[in-house]
């Protein structure tokens, strides 16, 4: 069961992993993130889109040496929400017997 106060968007394994990686790095490419999280292209795309639609991350597409490159970066809102999420987990940890 998920308490109401935990962010619904972040509270999903792949999305939580994406947010954790971006909280540590700020910006990261699609390929690198896929390698770190060990997820499929499709799975990562779907979850990244959800995060982007909710303003937690930004997705930028450009070309590097004529090859397409997708880069994810965390937004200010994303940083705030992720911090809040960790604080909520900490509260649960300390409040519950």
């Amino acid at each position: 069961m998920k308490p109401d106060r935990l962010n619904n968007i972040i509270h999903e394994r792949v999305r939580l992993a994406v947010m954790s990686a971006l909280a540590a790095r700020g910006k990261i490419t699609f390929c690198e993130l896929k390698d770190i999280l060990e997820v499929t292209d499709g799975n990562l795309s779907v979850h990244a889109t959800v995060l982007e639609q909710n303003g937690l991350i930004k997705i930028k597409k450009d070309f590097l040496a004529k090859k397409p490159r997708t880069t994810f970066s965390i937004t200010d809102k994303g940083k705030r929400e992720f911090r809040k999420y960790i604080e909520e987990l900490a509260t649960i940890l300390h409040d519950r017997p």
């Binding site: 990686a21 540590a24 790095r25 604080e87 987990l89 649960i92």
Partner: protein
């Protein structure tokens, strides 16, 4: 949510955050150790040469140059070795390989810059322009960090700007000041980012089960 689930989630967050920095991979302790080496170098140089030779580099002899070259090479190798050891240990803890194609590309891309820095250092020493050497080192390292930024994160960008600024200041400063700026770059800046890294890790760990 059960407490066990919260613990598991926090562990997952910590592990992912650490795994995502495995390409930068130098842990805070690596920075701290490099920072101490970075302070030791200028301090030793100052002690060895004395205030007179530091203030008037024209008095530096060939023998002094050889001794200082050995000292600085030792410091460089010690800092590189300790950073490598910490990185390997960190990668092992994460169950990942410390060496992969991206790391190889990252390091490979630095070879021309390091070569240029080495050649410029020798050229400056041959021309007895010793006071310019700290500036060259700071700027070269700033450029290395700037190119690493494209593989890593904004910490390297911030460090790069600091090193480039200190290097530029050093090139136009008196000899004594350039040694202080060298210590500020390789010493204080690395120590600052080491402490910052430790605090960042603590911030996440504080919520963990070990508390």
């Amino acid at each position: 949510m059960e407490k066990a689930q919260a613990i598991s989630d926090l562990e997952f967050i910590k592990k992912t955050m650490k795994a995502s920095t495995r390409y930068t991979n130098i842990p805070p302790m690596g920075y701290l150790l490099s920072g101490w080496f970075g302070l030791a170098g200028p301090f030793y140089t100052w002690l060895y040469l004395g205030a007179e030779k530091v203030g008037d580099p024209a008095r530096i002899t060939f023998y002094d140059v050889v001794i200082l070259a050995i000292a600085w090479l030792t410091i460089l190798l010690a800092a590189a070795f300790s950073s490598a050891v910490f990185s390997v240990l960190r990668a092992r803890r994460l169950g990942k390989s410390a060496w992969n194609s991206l790391v190889a590309r990252m390091l490979g891309s630095q070879v021309p810059l390091l070569f240029a820095a080495g050649i410029l250092t020798i050229a400056m020493a041959a021309a007895k322009q010793y006071s310019l050497i700290p500036g060259i080192w700071l700027i070269s390292y700033g450029l290395v960090l700037f190119s690493l930024y494209f593989f890593t994160g904004k910490d390297h960008l911030i460090q790069s700007v600091i090193f480039l600024a200190l290097g530029a200041a050093s090139l136009f400063s008196p000899a004594q000041a350039s040694l202080i700026l060298l210590a500020a770059g390789f010493g204080a800046t690395n120590l600052f980012f080491g402490i910052r890294g430790l605090l960042k890790e603590k911030e996440v760990y504080e919520t963990g089960p070990a508390q």
